[in-house]
C-alpha cells in the first residue's frame, strides 16, 4: 500500500493561481469554492522588499484533528494517507472546520465542509493531480513516501523540509522545502 505525500517548494511559486482553477474545474467546483489557495506576504521596506507566496491545501495529516472530531466518521483516514470525506455521512456540524488549524475546509452549497481530496484517481496511477500537473514552475510534487525511488523521496532527501504548525501535533503529509 502506498503512502502519499506532497512536497511544495514555495520559493518557486509566482502566484499564477493555475493550481486553484485547475482543481476547481477538475472537481467541478463553483468559482467561489476552492480546495487550495495561496498565502501571500510582503515584507521589508522599499526597495529592499520580499514577497512570500505559499500554496496551501489540506495537509492530509497523519494525526488529523478533523478525523478525530468527526462524529460520524464521515471524515476518515485512508490507508494510503489520504484524509477523505464520505459526503453522505456528514451531518454538517462544521466541527472539522473549527478543528483544522490550516483553514483547509470550506462549506459547499450542500452545507458539507469540503476540502482538497488529493485526487486519488491520479495518485493511484502514479500521476500528478491537476494542481501539480498544471503548475508551470513544478512547485508541487506528489508521490509515494514508501517508494524509496519516488521523486518525492529524492526531493526530501536532497532538501531540508518543514511542516506547518508542528506544535499542533497534526503530523501533516505536506512538506515545504526550506529555502
Amino acid at each position: 500500500m502506498a503512502r502519499y505525500g506532497l512536497v511544495i517548494d514555495d520559493s518557486k511559486c509566482t502566484g499564477c493561481t493555475a493550481c486553484t482553477i485547475a482543481c476547481q474545474l477538475h472537481n467541478n467546483l463553483e468559482p467561489e469554492m476552492t480546495y487550495n489557495r495561496l498565502e501571500i506576504l510582503e515584507t521589508g521596506t522599499y526597495p529592499n522588499v520580499k514577497m512570500d507566496i505559499m500554496p496551501m491545501q489540506c495537509m492530509h495529516c497523519d494525526n488529523a484533528p478533523c478525523v478525530s472530531v468527526c462524529p460520524t466518521q464521515a471524515t476518515y483516514k485512508r490507508e494510503d494517507g489520504i484524509v477523505a470525506i464520505d459526503y453522505d455521512k456528514c451531518i454538517g456540524c462544521k466541527y472539522c472546520m473549527t478543528a483544522c488549524p490550516y483553514d483547509a475546509r470550506k462549506l459547499n452549497e450542500e452545507r458539507v465542509p469540503v476540502k482538497c481530496r488529493w485526487c486519488p484517481e491520479y495518485l493511484e496511477k502514479g500521476e500528478q493531480p491537476p494542481c501539480a500537473a498544471t503548475c508551470m514552475n513544478d512547485v508541487r510534487v506528489f508521490g509515494d513516501l514508501d517508494d524509496p525511488n519516488s521523486k518525492i523521496n529524492k526531493i526530501l532527501a536532497e532538501n531540508e523540509v518543514v511542516s506547518l504548525l508542528p506544535e499542533k501535533g497534526t503530523k501533516p503529509s505536506i512538506f515545504y522545502v526550506k529555502k
Binding site: 518557486k12 477538475h26 468559482p31 514577497m51 507566496i53 458539507v112 513544478d138
Partner: protein, 735 residues
C-alpha cells in the same frame, strides 16, 4: 450566490443515479458517481486564454467540456497551463455569450435577427458604402492577423487596404525595431542562459508556461535573474535582485549599460565587427550617456549599472536581456528606442544565434490552398496612415494603428467597420473617443460576448464559434521561447457549437453573398488545413488526433550566413544599429536619449505616473468577464491600484481606501493597495478591469482601466499608444 452551471451538465445522469436522495439536494456522492461514470473524450486543441496559444487536451463528458490539461508535446505548454487557460475554457458556457445575430434597432435596443437577414442587410449596406465612398472607407479590426487571409479575399474584392490589428496598443515598438534592425524577432534561450535581465518584462505575468518552467529550472541550476521594473512583478519573486527603475527611463538605463560595455571594452568586438552595421554611428551619439548621467534619470546608481553591464558581459554569450512582449513596447515616447537598445545590448555581447543567448524559433513552411484569384479596384493609402508618406511612414502597415480608427470615423474617412475578436472600446485609450466608432454607417462586431464594442458601438453583432467549437488554419508554434523542433498545432472543435454561431469563413461568405459576390469563398477551413499540411507528410486525421505534431530539429546556432556574408533580412544582412527607415526628415536611425513625454512633478505630493501590467490570471481586459478568474481577483485583492507606502502616507491614504484619480480626460474612483513593492513615482493598475458593458455581467463596473485615463496619442516611430505617458492626480476619498 448559487451557481450550479458546472453541475448542470451532469444533472440528468446524476438525477437518474439518485433515487433515494434527500429531497433538497442531489447528494454529492451520487453526483460524483454519475460524473465519474460518464465517458471522457480527450480532444487536443490549443488555448485562447492569451496569445501564447498553448496546446491543450480538452476533457469532454456528456458533450460538455469538463476541463483542460496542458498538451504534453506543445512547447508552449508541455503539460502545464496557466489560470487564464483553464478559465477561458470554461467561458464557453458563459451566459454572456452572443447566442445569435443581433441588430441594433432605431431605438438603440438590440433585436434578434436571423443570419440570412444579417447577411442581406450587412451585404447591402457594405455594397452601398463601397459604391459611395470606395473600399478605402472600410476597415477590419482584429486582435491579430489570423483571419487576414480570409478577410483579404473580401477586401481585395472591394479594394480596402485597411486590415488593422490591435498591436498598436500592444507591442508595435518592439516588432518595428526588430524588423528594421534584425529583420525579425529572436527569443531568449532561458534554460541555457547564465544571466537573464527581465526589464519591463514580467514572464510570470504574461506567461508562456513552459517558458516559466525553463526559467525556474535555469534558476535551480544557478542562472542569475535580474528584474528591472517599477513594480515588484511576479517574476521579481524568483529573481536574485529587483531594481525598481523610474518609469519611462529604461532607455537611459540601457544607453548607460551600452556605454559601459563599449567604454570599458567589454563588448564582443569580433561579433560587432562581423555582424553589426552602424556601431560607430551609435557610439557617436551616445558617448556621453554615462552611468552617472543615467543615475540621475533612472534612480539606479551608476555603480549598479556598471556592475550589471560587467556581469552581463562576463556571462555572455550565455546572457541576454529579454526581448520582451507588451511591457515597454507601447508605453512611452521613447519605446521604439528602448526596444532598439535591447537589440543593441544583446548584439554588443554577441549573443545572437547562441545557446543561452538569443535564438530563432524552429519553423516549417506550410502549403497553400490554390484559390481563384480575386480582382478588385486598386487600393488607396491606409486610412490609419501606417506606412503612408507624410503620415506615419515608419509604422508597420501590416499592424496598423488601431486606436486611431474611431477618430477616422469621426473625420468621416471610415464608413464601415468590422471588429473581429477585438474590443477597441476597452483596449484602446480614451473610451469616449473610441465610442465614436458607432457613428460609422456600418459597424459589425464579430465577437463571442457582449464586450464594450458589441454593446456600445455595434450595429450588428455576429457570433463567431468559440475557439473550442471551431477549426482554424494550423499554427506553426513559435515565439518568446527557444526550441529546436518545429511544431504545428491544430485548433479543432472539442464541443458542438452551443449557440447559433458560425465559422469566420461562413460569416465572410455570407456577407460577400449579401453583396452579390457568390463565389469569393469556395472552400472550407478543413480544405485550408489539408492544403496547409500537405507538404509536411502528415494527414489531417493524424493532426486531429495528435493536436500538436513535432518535426525533426532544424535549429542551428551561429549567425545566418549566405555565400560567406551575413544574411539577416536587413539592408546590410547584418544587425543594423541604425534603422534606415527611421532616418526620415533628417532624424537619426540609432537610438539616443529621448525623455518621456510627460513626467510627474516631484514637488507635488498628489502627482503620479499611471502605469499598468498584466495580472498572471488575466489577459488584460479579454478575460475580465470570466467568473472563475474574477473570483480569483476578488480573493487576492486583484482590482486595487498599487501605491507606494511612503507616498500614500503623505496623502493620508491607507490600505483599502478609495481614492479619486484624475487625468486630463477622466476622473474616477479606485481602491488602493498600499505597498512597498512599487516605485514611489507611479501608481500601478492591472490592465484587466473597468468593464463598462452592462451585458458582460461579471466584468461590469469592476475597477478601473488605464485606458480610461489616457488620451489618444501616437508614438511617432511605431504608432503605439504611449499608454504610460500620463500623469494623474490622486486624492484621498470618493469623488
Amino acid at each position: 450566490m448559487r451557481q450550479f452551471n458546472r453541475r448542470t451538465f451532469l444533472k440528468a445522469s446524476a438525477a437518474a443515479a439518485v433515487v433515494s436522495s434527500v429531497p433538497l439536494y442531489v447528494s454529492f456522492n451520487n453526483y460524483k458517481k454519475a460524473a465519474e461514470d460518464a465517458t471522457v473524450h480527450k480532444i487536443p486543441s490549443f488555448c485562447q486564454g492569451c496569445t501564447s496559444y498553448c496546446g491543450i487536451i480538452a476533457h469532454v463528458k456528456n458533450d460538455r467540456l469538463w476541463k483542460i490539461e496542458g498538451h504534453p508535446i506543445h512547447l508552449k505548454s508541455r503539460g502545464h497551463l496557466c489560470a487564464r487557460g483553464h478559465g477561458m475554457a470554461d467561458y464557453a458556457y458563459s451566459k454572456d455569450r452572443i447566442q445569435h445575430p443581433w441588430k441594433r434597432g432605431d431605438n438603440g435596443e438590440f433585436e434578434k435577427i436571423s443570419w440570412d437577414q444579417a447577411f442581406k442587410e450587412i451585404g447591402e449596406k457594405l455594397k452601398d458604402i463601397v459604391k459611395k465612398y470606395s473600399g478605402n472607407s472600410v476597415v477590419w479590426m482584429e486582435h491579430g492577423s489570423h483571419r487576414k487571409p480570409y478577410v483579404d479575399r473580401l477586401f481585395d474584392k472591394i479594394g480596402s487596404p485597411n486590415f488593422v490589428t490591435q498591436y498598436s496598443t500592444c507591442f508595435n515598438s518592439k516588432t518595428n525595431a526588430w524588423q528594421q534592425m534584425v529583420g525579425g524577432t529572436l527569443s531568449g534561450d532561458h534554460q541555457k542562459s547564465k544571466y537573464i535581465i527581465f526589464e519591463g518584462r514580467n514572464f510570470a505575468g504574461g506567461i508562456v508556461p513552459n517558458g516559466m518552467n525553463l526559467i525556474t529550472k535555469a534558476k535551480e541550476q544557478g542562472t542569475k535573474i535580474l528584474v528591472i521594473d517599477p513594480r515588484y512583478s511576479e517574476i521579481a519573486k524568483i529573481a536574485d535582485e529587483w531594481l525598481p527603475i523610474r518609469p519611462g527611463t529604461d532607455l537611459a538605463f540601457r544607453l548607460a549599460m551600452a556605454n559601459v560595455l563599449i567604454s570599458e571594452g567589454l563588448y564582443d568586438k569580433v561579433f560587432v565587427k562581423k555582424y553589426v552595421d552602424g556601431f560607430d554611428e551609435f557610439w557617436k551619439y551616445n558617448k556621453h550617456n554615462t552611468p552617472e548621467w543615467a543615475e540621475e534619470i533612472t534612480g539606479i546608481s551608476a555603480q549598479k549599472i556598471r556592475e550589471i553591464a560587467r556581469e552581463f558581459a562576463k556571462n555572455a554569450p550565455q546572457a541576454f536581456i529579454e526581448p520582451g512582449w507588451h511591457g515597454l513596447h507601447a508605453h512611452y515616447l521613447n519605446s521604439t528606442q528602448t526596444a532598439q537598445m535591447a537589440i543593441i545590448l544583446n548584439a554588443l555581447v554577441g549573443n545572437f544565434y547562441q545557446r543561452g543567448g538569443l535564438m530563432p524559433s524552429a519553423t516549417v513552411t506550410l502549403g497553400h490552398l490554390e484559390l481563384p484569384e480575386v480582382f478588385g479596384p486598386e487600393k488607396g493609402d491606409r486610412v490609419d496612415g501606417a506606412g503612408v508618406d507624410g503620415e506615419f511612414k515608419t509604422v508597420e502597415p501590416a499592424r496598423g494603428i488601431s486606436h486611431l480608427i474611431a477618430n477616422k470615423v469621426a473625420e468621416g474617412k471610415v464608413k464601415a467597420v468590422f471588429v473581429c475578436n477585438n474590443n477597441p472600446l476597452r483596449t484602446s485609450p480614451s473610451p469616449e473617443e473610441q465610442k465614436q466608432l458607432k457613428d460609422a454607417d456600418l459597424v459589425v462586431s464579430i465577437n463571442i460576448d457582449w464586450n464594450e464594442t458589441s454593446y456600445h458601438a455595434a450595429h450588428y453583432i455576429l457570433p463567431e464559434h468559440y475557439y473550442l467549437e471551431r477549426y482554424e488554419h494550423p499554427y506553426t508554434v513559435s515565439g518568446h521561447i527557444t526550441h529546436e523542433h518545429p511544431q504545428i498545432a491544430l485548433r479543432q472543435p472539442v464541443i458542438k457549437p452551443l449557440h447559433d454561431s458560425k465559422n469566420i469563413i461562413d460569416i465572410l461568405d455570407g456577407i460577400a453573398k449579401g453583396m452579390g459576390y457568390n463565389d469569393l469563398y469556395p472552400f472550407t477551413v478543413e480544405d485550408d488545413i489539408k492544403a496547409a499540411i500537405a507538404p509536411l507528410g502528415i494527414t489531417f486525421e493524424q493532426l486531429k488526433k495528435a493536436g500538436t505534431i513535432e518535426f525533426p530539429a532544424t535549429l542551428k546556432t551561429g549567425f545566418p550566413i549566405n555565400k560567406g556574408k551575413p544574411a539577416l533580412k536587413t539592408k546590410s544582412g547584418k544587425i543594423q544599429f541604425s534603422a534606415e527607415l527611421f532616418k526620415l526628415d533628417g532624424k537619426i536611425g540609432v537610438p539616443t536619449w529621448i525623455a518621456p513625454k510627460v513626467m510627474p512633478d516631484s514637488s507635488k505630493a498628489d502627482e503620479f505616473r499611471l502605469i499598468h501590467g498584466k495580472q498572471p490570471w488575466h489577459s488584460h481586459a479579454m478575460t475580465n468577464n470570466n467568473n472563475y478568474l474574477m473570483a480569483m481577483s476578488e480573493r487576492y485583492d486583484g482590482m486595487s491600484m498599487w501605491m507606494n507606502t511612503a507616498r500614500a502616507n503623505k496623502l493620508g491614504i491607507k490600505n483599502g481606501d478609495t481614492v479619486t484619480m484624475e487625468s486630463s480626460i477622466a476622473k474616477k474612483e479606485v481602491k488602493v493597495k498600499v505597498t512597498e513593492l512599487i516605485h514611489p513615482d507611479c501608481v500601478w493598475v492591472p490592465s484587466t478591469y473597468g468593464g463598462y458593458s452592462p451585458k458582460n455581467t461579471t466584468a461590469y463596473n469592476v475597477g478601473v482601466n488605464f485606458n480610461d485615463f489616457i488620451p489618444v496619442m501616437v508614438e511617432p516611430w511605431s504608432g503605439s499608444t504611449m499608454s504610460q505617458e500620463v500623469v494623474v492626480k490622486i486624492r484621498k476619498g470618493a469623488m
